[in-house]
Symmetry: C2
């Protein structure tokens, strides 16, 4: 993230150190010690500035210690500033900050040096709330009880403190040097982080307690940072369109782009944003856990032992695959499933209805008591010595998920009277968005049939967006504007979906004209 721009062109971080030689006290200038600093800050445009009443005594002592030549650490809080601390003019310590991707399954921390504009360290840990529910809905139900809500918050904050402490110590820093944090999470996780009741998030009409969170001070949450440290929690657009997505909009550059772009965060819910710097429309809909490999018998998250890439030889029908972590295969993750279904379709194992053609004679095609299946890995190859099968039932579940995804995309474009070909950039974010092979996803009709260069994986957009805000405070106001401009459609109740959905249940679609680039194998026509 280091920038080669000249310093006066570089964006200004959320927290910065201003070096000020204050006019010394004099009989003809009897401004109070603190007023003297506030006056000098005002001359620098840093106004109005808030000072925590209980910190005045400390600040004034530091101003005197510094003999009125001070390094003032100030934070930008959108409609005002905050005076975070005062040091002698010679203070040279960097201003540190944490960008946090507050995910349902994992938390990613980025330790930034705002002064030198670099990432010092990063670390991911599992979300400590998982024992109280793998998925967010279970946790929302658990959190109905206020005590449980406190438990969930405490788990998070303890994990934050532990991880932050570790990262700081390993790099020779300490908590008091951390003056800011930006947290991008989905709506529910952000509620948990701030100890808010998420009950109404999952009930029609799906209303969060808060969409636009106020700035919080580290001391208010008991976070191991500088006590006055500013914590920015990304705003939500709706119950199913959280701060993680808003950070994603930033990371993808929607707020500054003239071209029509689309961002989709693929997970249990598919969240979609369409637009450019002038307008934005967003929606979220249930895609089902199949896209995360969560429902299929051998489905798993992208972790060591997961098959993430599959190819099938069209003649022998023998598969080749790639396993994460160079291990024996344990299961198959989302991108692996997309590959597997796409390849099974290409070589004619799957019909356009998603049925396995059992008339094919091959050791790879079995008839099991649960129905037909394709043997992706034999017991000799797998970690548990059991065959790793892709069953017709698995495929059926998966088709619903991919159909949901395509339907959501169709509906949002219909809403604004545009068609897929108008999209110039198609960003894929989220847990496995980065791993999807667009060619494969197009072949099965999960995403539209656009030139492959339109597609772009984005990696951890939430963490990236959070870091961006920390490094460029002007983005705070841009974000505010972005949120004001977003039109949000609640798809959970959209009837149009059902009709679109039926057509999308096929491979690639009942209307093949939508996927001109996809060659439909003769055998697959069923």
């Amino acid at each position: 993230m280091p920038s080669s721009l000249p310093s006066w062109l570089q964006p200004i971080p959320l927290v910065e150190t201003l070096r000020l030689e204050l006019a010394p006290p004099h009989l003809n200038d009897n401004a109070g010690d603190l007023d003297r600093l506030v006056r000098a800050l005002k001359q620098e445009g840093v106004t109005p500035i808030h000072v925590s009443p209980l910190r005045i005594d400390h600040l004034v002592r530091e101003i005197r210690n510094a003999r009125f030549n001070v390094a003032a650490v100030v934070g930008y809080a959108s409609c005002h500033w905050e005076l975070l601390d005062v040091f002698p003019l010679s203070y040279e310590e960097p201003i540190l900050a944490f960008a946090v991707d507050l995910g349902t399954s994992s938390l990613a921390f980025y330790l930034l040096d705002l002064t030198w504009r670099e990432i010092i360290a990063q670390k991911s840990i599992p979300n400590p709330q998982i024992p109280h529910g793998e998925d967010i809905l279970t946790r929302i139900l658990f959190a109905r009880d206020e005590k449980n809500r406190q438990t969930l918050q405490k788990l998070l904050l303890d994990s934050f403190n532990h991880t932050m402490h570790e990262m700081l110590e390993q790099n020779g820093f300490h908590a008091e040097q951390v003056f800011a944090m930006a947290v991008a999470g989905n709506t529910t996780m952000s509620h948990f982080f701030l100890g808010l009741d998420p009950t109404h998030i999952c009930r029609e009409p799906y209303i969060p307690a808060v969409n636009r969170f106020p700035f919080v001070h580290a001391r208010e949450l008991g976070l191991s940072m500088h006590p006055e440290g500013l914590i920015y929690v990304f705003p939500n657009v709706g119950s199913y369109f959280g701060g993680d997505l808003v950070a994603g909009i930033l990371a993808a550059g929607f707020h500054r782009s003239e071209e029509l772009s689309l961002l989709v965060d693929v997970g249990t819910n598919a969240e979609v944003v369409l637009g450019n710097r002038d307008w934005l429309i967003a929606c979220a809909g249930a895609a089902g856990p199949a896209l995360e490999g969560g429902v299929m018998e051998r489905g798993m998250m992208a972790a060591p032992g997961a098959i993430d890439r599959v190819r099938i030889d069209p003649l022998s029908l023998e598969p080749s695959y790639h396993v994460l972590g160079d291990e024996k295969p344990v299961g198959i993750c989302g991108s692996g499933v997309i590959d597997a279904v796409a390849e099974m379709f290409r070589v004619g194992i799957l019909t356009i209805q998603g049925k396995i053609d059992t008339s094919i004679e091959s050791p790879r095609i079995l008839k099991t008591p649960d129905g037909p299946a394709y043997v992706l890995a034999t017991g000799e190859e797998t970690a548990d010595s059991r065959d790793l099968l892709i069953t017709e039932i698995d495929v059926g579940i998966f088709l619903k998920s991919k159909a949901a995804m395509y339907t959501i995309l169709t509906v949002i474009l219909n809403k604004v009277g545009l068609s897929f070909k108008d999209i110039k950039r198609f960003y894929m974010a989220g847990t496995f968005g980065n791993y999807i092979d667009p060619a494969m996803a197009i072949r099965i009709g999960m995403i539209p049939d656009l030139p492959l260069e339109t597609y772009r994986g984005l990696g951890n957009t939430a963490g990236r967006g959070a870091a961006m805000v920390l490094l460029d405070r002007s983005l705070l106001n841009e974000l505010e504007n972005v949120c004001d401009r977003i039109t949000y459609i609640e798809l959970n109740v959209n009837m149009e979906l059902m009709n679109e959905f039926r057509g999308a249940l096929f491979l690639p679609h009942t209307d093949p004209r939508l996927f001109p680039s996809v060659e439909i194998p003769e055998r697959s026509r069923g």
Copy 2:
């Protein structure tokens, strides 16, 4: 303070209840619960509004409890608003507030109902810090040690809580109904209240830690009010020109008057403001404790047993006097001393140099080992059976104080090139300002020889000014402007003083043309 203005013309108090019927949650309007309220407040012009992060959970619960028809209690904090609490629409409890005069020797509390605009109760208590120093300088020295400073603050806050609790209970109210407090004190007392170090106040160049205090929340000081209650501490203009005086400027109406006015707060220091709504000049100088009756052998504060009025028969030289509290005299307070000296001068006992004319044959005039004296009350009349004397030494000390006062007034007028006759209103505030008889004070040359109707006692200006701000939030910004406009002169180091001072040491002055109304007795010419 109840006003008969139509409601739409009445000033709006610092804290008010806004009744809002929020748009109910709907699929097409997915604003968060809190955002919904913030949006409605914005439409009422109440923006930007701050919400304490740790209170969101409570506020959202109340919004839901109220089914989105809420009574929102909002406080005005000058450059932003604060959302203090939320109740159901039917909430009818009054919004209470305390105005506090934070004096060196006593604290005066006024319990106000901001909704109905009336004073519910008032109560004065001695300043609980007195055991650590009668005068403010002793306390400043005591407070050098941080622990002692904490002790002084705790004494104050405990007294506040105790008194407030008592006043609320007696009137059937409770702490949670108190949403605001305005505190007007001198610079040092305001520092003690907020736990700030006053060390530099009493050392050249006399710089306070802070002149403009930020708003404080009740919870931050541990005051027994609503935890989010807003506490406004009046700003200081300088170390010897505190928030009590600024409140006085408000109470005297300087900020809105076209006429030239002068306000003097008479005490150990004489603080003076001169000006009108367009300009203000202020200064403070040591007048010596004599004006408070603090140095003379039988001097005392205005309390039961103090002689506060004196007349002397010009023929018999026999005195008549009034004693506070209908008791036997114990001592003499400031206004009594002024009367006594003025009468002694009028009847020819004192020369213009302030000497007692011992050539007069009268049982009232004694020659004591300590010099000549006048017997104001004999041992038969006094509480301790000792003669109550006004000695020549007492008079000498007193003349220095009155000369200091007159000098300060002269210097401030010279500064702006005006003369006393330009003054249309002369306000006297402070502990005993209200009790001074202007005719007497003119006769001894303590205040200028202006028409008597120019003079006006103001009573507790600090408490009044504090109540005014609570009842009219627009005054907050006017006050800010007033403080910006005040030119403050530090008189402690003004050389011009010494020359003026010498002339003012006489009765009424070396230049009798300055006091044309004062008849100088033939005998007194010495």
